[in-house]
Amino acid sequence: MLTLLRIGWKNLKRDRVAQTLTFVLPIVFFSIFASVFGGRAGDSTPRVSVAVVDEDQSEFSRRVVEALGKESALRVRAAAANARGLDRSAAERLVRNGDVPVAIVMPKGVGAGFEERGFGGPEISIVLLADPSDPVAPQMVQGLLQKVTMTAAPDLMMRGGMKQFERYAGALTPEQRKSVDQWLPRLKADAGSSVGTGSNGGGAMSMPVQVIDVMRTDDPKGSLISFYAAGIGVMFLLFSAVGGAGGALLDEAESGTLERLLSTNIGMSGLLAGKWLFLMLIGAAQLTVMFLWGRLAFGLPLFSHIPGFVVMTVVTASAAAALGLVLATLARTRAQLSGFSTLLILTMSALGGSMFPRFLMSETMQKMGLITFNAWALDGYLKVFWRNAALWELWPQVLVLSALAATFLSLARLLARRWELA
């Protein structure tokens, strides 16, 4: 028994790859997930980007917009955009394009209604234009709106409340009127004092908010499934591309077939191109099978999004195959390839949103995610299946993934020189 332990220990001591996989990999993953979910020390709290459209231009709406701008949990992108004349349709576009998950519209008359009805709330609701793929942001914004409306304009609310009181209980006496008039400016002066402090402001009173799903998804469940199909699909695409490329190059080098292939007319460039094409087709087939299964088992809306799916699948599989070739040409052994690629793929998948949607990550992590292959691929699939984007709208993702494929292929060709000539 002791001898077996000694053998195991000596093997582990002399195998750096095994040591890395045993001890370093879990630490790396722990750090990534701690950053994604918990936020690193000094990292900002996740902030929700919102667009704000003030159609009302009343004192109430201006105060609410101003208070929203001071909210630490919000990034009011539209504050500047508003000055350039952001209207409801532009805000809706921002949401549909995924630039912001929520847009707040202060419709015409909301301020007058608020001043008129006070505690009873205005007849006209504040409108939230929301993308339901992010289930957290609309809820959060709704809550913040309740707080902001209560704290940003207490005097207006009081005035409205007094009007309601007078309507049903009779007019105030001159003394009562005088003391209310003295109190209202004090309320106005206090307005916003609790903004950003997390105070619960309005208590049981509530401001009506109407949430509109701007994606107009007939089947939000199916569309979300497409997102997860892409997330998992891209991660496994990377695993199979690396495994396939390893088999294609490292195993061939070991078995001697690489030497034989290089002695034929094909040459290293032709060989890599052939391997890349094969891996790309296999990857595309793998994603197609996954989405078809999603269609059959979970009602994923594949057939209504075929052109976008084809484009994203081809560019994604191309880049994944090229990345697989880079890793296979970089590694000296199968063990190296396996250790390094597991680390890289799982890291990229975590950062790039394959395991956990990027829009739920902190801003810093969302930005970091863009360095990964997965983020661009998933953004593309999200555009196709969730945002119903036209083909041309996929150009950033297609451009980045194609550029990545070209870069990876060039790098693989450079690294493969070691097999060509000693």
Binding site: E254, T257, E259, R260, S263, T264, N265, E420, L421, A422
Partner: protein, 307 residues
């Protein structure tokens, strides 16, 4: 026209001088054995000829054209030491794949595939996956893949390693047929008796240098000479005072075995037998051996050739 000439080939990997001025030539239709201990530079030399190693110095010419590093001359057929075939493909599929990559197309491809299968004795197993083949059959397929495009020079790195005597025999029949058709073959091997029996000439390489080249008689003349080695097995060890008189060597591993070199066995053996009898010894067995490649090899390198 020279078929293949290697002149003063030099190659260093870090602190290791893999080739240190190796020179030799391969002639038309010959089967040339490249012999050398492990690490002598055989594989480096084969890889340099096939354009996979950039030489630090010297030159390799194939049909009078210099070999350019990174480009395998089209007239070469390569048979690597590894079984460089795809195990899940059938023998025919392997040959078709490599044939296409060698530029064979149309009716020429199946014709050449059939020829290679026939030549290596695999025609009746052509449609079986290679993973079901024995080691010897895989070796033969390995050779078939290297010759199917009709190369004029074939480089074989240990083509018979790990195969049974029957398959080895079959392989040498194939190589002999190719040589008879005018193909020049250069093979590395650890089997001295094979090189001796099957190859027309031998090049011995050690420490990256060619230390001898020629036919077996030429090598024998250059090294150990043409004497015979006579080994006698006695019923008991000889008395030590008799040994100088009889001019024999005692086998250090077995004192009952003595050896003597003789240039004329018929004249020298009877007096030795008489001398032993007179010394009180009795001869149980006599073995007379001619000069072998092994003796040449040991003479030149100071060590035996082992796999």
């Amino acid at each position: 026209m020279n078929i293949l000439t290697v002149t003063d080939a030099r190659k260093r990997y870090g602190s290791v001088q893999a080739l240190d001025g190796a020179s030799f030539e391969l002639r038309k239709g010959e089967l040339l054995a490249l012999l050398g201990p492990n690490g002598a530079g055989k594989t480096t030399l084969i890889r340099a000829i096939s354009g996979r190693v950039r030489l630090d110095g010297g030159e390799i010419r194939v049909f009078d054209q210099p070999v350019v590093a990174g480009r395998t001359p089209r007239v070469l057929g390569i048979v690597p030491q590894e079984l460089a075939v795809y195990p899940l493909l059938t023998a025919r599929e392997n040959l078709e794949a490599f044939g296409r990559l060698h530029g064979l197309t149309g009716t020429e491809l199946p014709k050449q595939v059939d020829w290679a299968l026939e030549r290596t004795g695999l025609a009746d197993r052509a449609r079986e996956p290679v993973k079901q083949f024995s080691g010897g059959m895989r070796r033969r397929l390995n050779i078939a893949c290297g010759i199917l495009h009709h190369p004029r020079i074939v480089l074989l790195d240990e083509p018979t390693v790990g195969v049974d005597p029957q398959s080895r025999d079959r392989i040498y029949v194939t190589l002999g047929e190719l040589a008879a058709e005018g193909v020049s073959l250069l093979l590395t091997t650890h089997h001295l008796e094979e090189a001796e029996a099957r190859c027309s000439r031998t090049v011995i390489i050690d420490h990256g240098r060619v230390i001898a080249a020629g036919t077996l008689p030429e090598l024998v003349d250059q090294t150990v000479g043409r004497h015979r080695m006579v080994t006698l097995r006695l019923n008991s060890p000889l008395a030590t005072d008799r040994i100088p008189t009889l001019r024999v060597e005692i086998d250090p591993a077995d004192a009952r075995q003595v050896r003597a070199r003789m240039t004329d066995v018929a004249a020298d053996l009877p007096p030795l037998l008489e001398g032993i009898r007179a010394a009180g010894g009795a001869v149980e067995d006599v073995e007379v051996r001619g000069p072998s490649l092994q003796a040449v090899f040991i003479h030149l390198t100071g060590r035996e050739l082992r796999e």
